[in-house]
């Protein structure tokens, strides 16, 4: 089926070339990092994880969000999602691949990555994260490819794939839970040491992931003859999921704020004071965090009121939610986990250009994979329609 990605319009190829150019630039930036060490990034002794691990965290959520289509469709026979499920699965695959790439570029000794398998360490959460991420990638590849292949031939999906689809549901929950455990199990990092961390991760994932998927559906509708939502209200159903997930996410965040500020234990509130008000005169994250706060409420409002039915305001609402979640999880949560540091000193972090170029290149790889997979899926659908 892959051959379908090899024929396309001029616009398609221009897009692919643009992505390849970004990837090429990022590749050279990575070579610079590979030869000169992680010193070319903004990370330091005090803030030892930065943009890369934050993107990893955000994208695990995007990958997990496919379950928001799979679960209603396969468990509740929610037929409206019939045409969209494959798009969810084909978004999960590039998202997991991006996660793995972000981990890879974050390593100081990337050539030793196989040590994780050669010397398995079942006490480390990282070990389980590797297992669930690789497993989730395989599950989605098998399910997506098999169901689309069957559809192309006009036959029902083979019976053996059903149990794998059911398995993918708890598995999706597991990838984000285990990722939250990476942080929530560490003593002495007060921003992360929270029982509600995994719940927050899932809520934000089920808001941002489907929001990205809806925007991708809009693009698909524009650039192809395939309509993922031929007037059945699939997108509006997904909007409801995004809305409630985002409300839950904001609610969970407020729970964190209450516990930290009302208990008034200095260590617990210090990182939150840092991101909302600044600490010891350091305020670089404050404007960014307030932007996210405003966008979160704006996004919820636009999705609650009838503005959700208007294409333009719906797009703005979804973008607000995606950006708010990206700022929260794809930047601040990881960085502020290290601020203040173990000595209660504020050492700030900001990414370098080299780091940003590598990050952009990995996103471009993800976008390229989404493009190819969606092209295949859409071509099969267009072929069937004609």
């Amino acid at each position: 089926m892959l051959e379908k990605a090899l024929s396309g319009s001029k616009r398609y190829w221009a897009w692919v070339l643009l992505l390849l150019a970004i990837i090429a630039v990022g590749f050279f930036a990575y070579m610079n990092q590979f030869y000169n060490g992680l010193g070319v990034t903004g990370m330091s002794r005090d803030v030892s994880w930065g943009l890369y691990i934050a993107q990893f965290t955000f994208l695990v959520g995007v990958a997990a969000s496919a379950v928001m289509l799979v679960l209603p469709y396969y468990l509740h026979d929610f037929k409206k999602f019939g045409k969209m499920v494959i798009l969810g699965e084909f978004l999960a695959i590039p998202a997991v691949i991006m996660c793995i790439l972000f981990i890879f570029v974050d390593l100081g000794q990337p050539m030793r990555i196989m040590n994780v398998i050669l010397h398995p360490s079942p006490r480390s959460v990282m070990f389980y994260d590797m297992i669930v991420l690789c497993g989730y990638l395989i599950i989605n590849l098998v399910v997506g490819w098999t169901t689309l292949g069957a559809e192309r031939k006009g036959t029902p999906s083979p019976k053996w794939v059903k149990p794998i689809i059911y398995l993918s549901i708890p598995w999706a929950v597991s990838i984000h839970t285990v990722t939250a455990f990476l942080y929530a199990g560490l003593p002495g990092r007060h921003l992360w040491l929270s029982a509600i961390m995994a719940a927050r991760f899932l809520a934000s994932a089920f808001a941002a992931g489907p929001a990205i998927l809806i925007l991708l559906c809009f693009i698909v509708k524009k650039v192809s003859k395939f309509n993922p939502d031929p007037g059945v209200g699939a997108i509006q159903s997904l909007v409801k999921i995004v809305r409630y997930a985002m409300i839950a996410n904001v609610f969970f965040y407020i729970l964190e704020l209450f516990t930290a500020f009302y208990s008034n234990i200095p260590e617990y509130s210090a990182p939150l004071r840092y991101i909302f008000f600044g600490l010891d005169g350091h305020t670089s994250l404050v404007p960014i965090m307030w932007t996210a706060t405003v966008l979160a409420f704006l996004g919820i409002a636009l999705l609650v009121f009838p503005t959700r039915k208007n294409g333009a305001t719906l797009t703005i609402g979804l973008l607000s939610i995606i950006i708010a979640n990206w700022i929260d999880k794809g930047m601040i949560l990881i960085v502020a986990g290290f601020v203040p540091n173990s000595f209660e000193r504020v050492i700030e972090y900001s990414p370098t250009l080299n780091e940003i170029l590598v990050t952009l290149a990995i996103y471009a790889i993800g976008a390229l994979l989404v493009t190819i997979l969606y092209k295949v899926a859409i071509s099969v659908r267009e072929e069937k329609a004609s």
Binding site: L38, R45, G108, P187, G188
Partner: protein, 267 residues
Amino acid sequence: MSINRRQFLRRAGMITALGLGSSFVISGFRKKEVAVAAGYTKASEDLPAKRWAMVVDMSKFKTEADYNRVIETCHKLHNVPKFPNPKDEIKWIWKDDYHHTFAGGHNEYLDEHVLHSPFMVLCNHCENPPCVKACPTQATFQRPDGIVAMDFHRCIGCRFCMGACPFGARSFNFRDPRPFIEGEISTEYPTRTPGVVEKCNFCYERLADGLMPACVEQSNGGLIFGDLDDPNSEVRKIISTKFTIRRKPELGTQPCVYYLVGGGDHA
């Protein structure tokens, strides 16, 4: 010659099987070397202990020179580089003031001496080390004598241990450390490659030769080192008879570095 899909898959499968098989043969040979290595026994002069621990006697650190002598000896012996940019900094043993060392609630009415004199800080060699639990490759591990050690050749540089350590004891080689080693390179301890984590090792290489850690030797009695499990050891006697404090004991990691504050005898 053209091949169809089925043939291609079959051949690809055979090549993969061959590759896996030969890698097994290679690792099979390696197993023998491991068996030989396991035959080695401890050096006869190796100091035995069940739980190494250190007491920092603050009354013995009086001048700036007392601190610097200790720090410089350690960093020189272990080839710890000096980076100009604090972002890349590597430290094994260093000093910090009371409030930052014992983070968690300020008390501004403390004794002036305690408030303003710096404290020696280093890896606590915790009894329940969170860094060892976090490491996905067991590159950082706990020895039977309690020392938390590092295998620089196994470390993948993921820095999970740095996130896990509540004491900020770990440093990462963000850049190649070798050009930044000041003076002559020490032959007592290996230099490191970029991209690996490092920290204090309680001088296990000296303990194996029957010597005390370098910092202890240079501290004029300010650092006391011994086996916590031995009721007759000096560290055990101090800890059981005088009031000592530890960094962040509430986290349950059981740090093995104790601070004797308020003077030696009349504490």
